[in-house]
Symmetry: C2
Subunit: 214 residues, 2 copies
DNA sequence: TAATATAGCGCACAGATGTTAGCTAAAATG
DNA sequence: CATTTTAGCTAACATCTGTGCGCTATATTA
């Protein structure tokens, strides 16, 4: 029974939680103080080094955690089904915003550091978001085939949707409830526009090709 | 002849330039040191106070400058005309990315601080972007009327376009040229999708209304 | 020309920061 | 049970931070 490793994991998690907490009180990773994180985590400043080599190192761990949360969202989105009340887009958006609210602090860190100070972190985040994009691409391709809709370039659609969902949701989690609902409504509209636009473009292209052949 | 006021304005500008320079070497405003800015501007640390009360105060000035750059972009977009080589969207996107490249450092600061540490700055930036959005809304309404296209809700379209242009351009200005061109291509596609999507939705709604009335 | 205002400077202080070195209790290991 | 490993601590350092105080040169003003 490794009481020791257990405890180590626990304080490690304490450090990560502390960092997220402090960073959500208006700080980027670069403006973070090792001492403050340590204090918040309830350990001595020097003990931090028993777990991470540097703050940036710890930041990478946070990115990993946030990324896991995003992957979970997609997992849930896959299970989503349209019903009589709401169509697919509405439901997926709703599910997503719920997740964002739930993991708000963590994802906010991701969003902040995506344009933040550390080149290494930016790279890491970009890489993670690329993975997410691939998953969304698959999802869109699968769904559009399933419903026999014509999306010629699901990757472009996925790209657009990821961008817009990510930034809208991140900025929405600071808002009061009413404004959040409004953001959600606009987000649904936006995504639908992307979707329909891509489809219409695909069809137009299709018709153009037919005309050229005839 | 106010040699004095002139000089003051000059060092003030030096400070702002210094701040932008330092911030583009991987720092948020919060991670900025007054002393370093002063050194970069070529003045003593304490002289900073002759121009700004605090770093945040200076940040607000930077936001103002960046905002002016954005307004200039829209002014140029208004003058843009489609030609035989490129359609309107392509040209506007191109013009915009040029501007972003030109004012890259300044706009990057805006983008970073939009999710940055200072609540006051975030507010200010949000407000400026709102003004930009209004201008885009007008532009779209005007253009769609001029070309007799059917956009029921230009504000929603403007909203979507601003978001996607802003974040795409900001992330693009770090990229090598080839990738920038790719980003530009995707951006054009994305905006076109939004546009066509909104139009298609408007027409569908129109048809639905007609059906309901008949 | 005499008086005033001010942009700039150096000095100094108190506090915060990252990091090293060395100690200790207690868990893990043999 | 004896030994080793290690997560945690305190003390201490050199460095950097914002900022207050008082001086000076010089442009402006009366």
């Amino acid at each position: 029974m490794s009481t020791r490793a257990e405890q180590k994991l626990k304080t490690r998690q304490n450090i990560l939680n502390a960092a997220v907490k402090v960073m959500n009180e208006d700080r980027g990773l670069a403006a973070l103080s090792l001492r403050e994180v340590a204090k918040e985590a309830g350990i001595a400043p020097t003990s931090f080094y028993r777990h991470f080599e540097t703050l940036e190192d710890m930041g990478l761990e946070l990115v990993k955690a946030a990324s896991a949360a995003l992957h979970q969202i997609i997992k849930d989105a896959r299970l989503t089904q349209a019903d009589s009340q709401q169509d697919m887009v509405q439901k997926v958006v709703h599910v997503t915003m719920d997740h964002f609210r739930e993991n708000g602090p963590l994802i906010r860190v991701l969003a902040r550091e995506a344009m933040g100070s550390s080149r290494i972190l930016r790279r890491a985040i970009k890489k993670e978001l690329q993975l997410i994009k691939n998953e969304i691409t698959d999802l869109i391709a699968y769904e559009s085939k399933k419903h026999q809709r014509n999306i010629t370039d699901p990757e472009l659609v996925a790209d657009a949707i990821l961008d817009v969902m990510f930034y809208t949701c991140v900025s929405a989690i600071n808002m009061p409830y009413a404004l959040q609902k409004d953001a959600e409504r606009r987000l649904v509209h936006h995504i639908r526009a992307i979707y329909i636009g891509a489809e219409t473009m695909a069809n137009t292209l299709h018709i153009e090709r037919q005309l050229m052949l005839s």
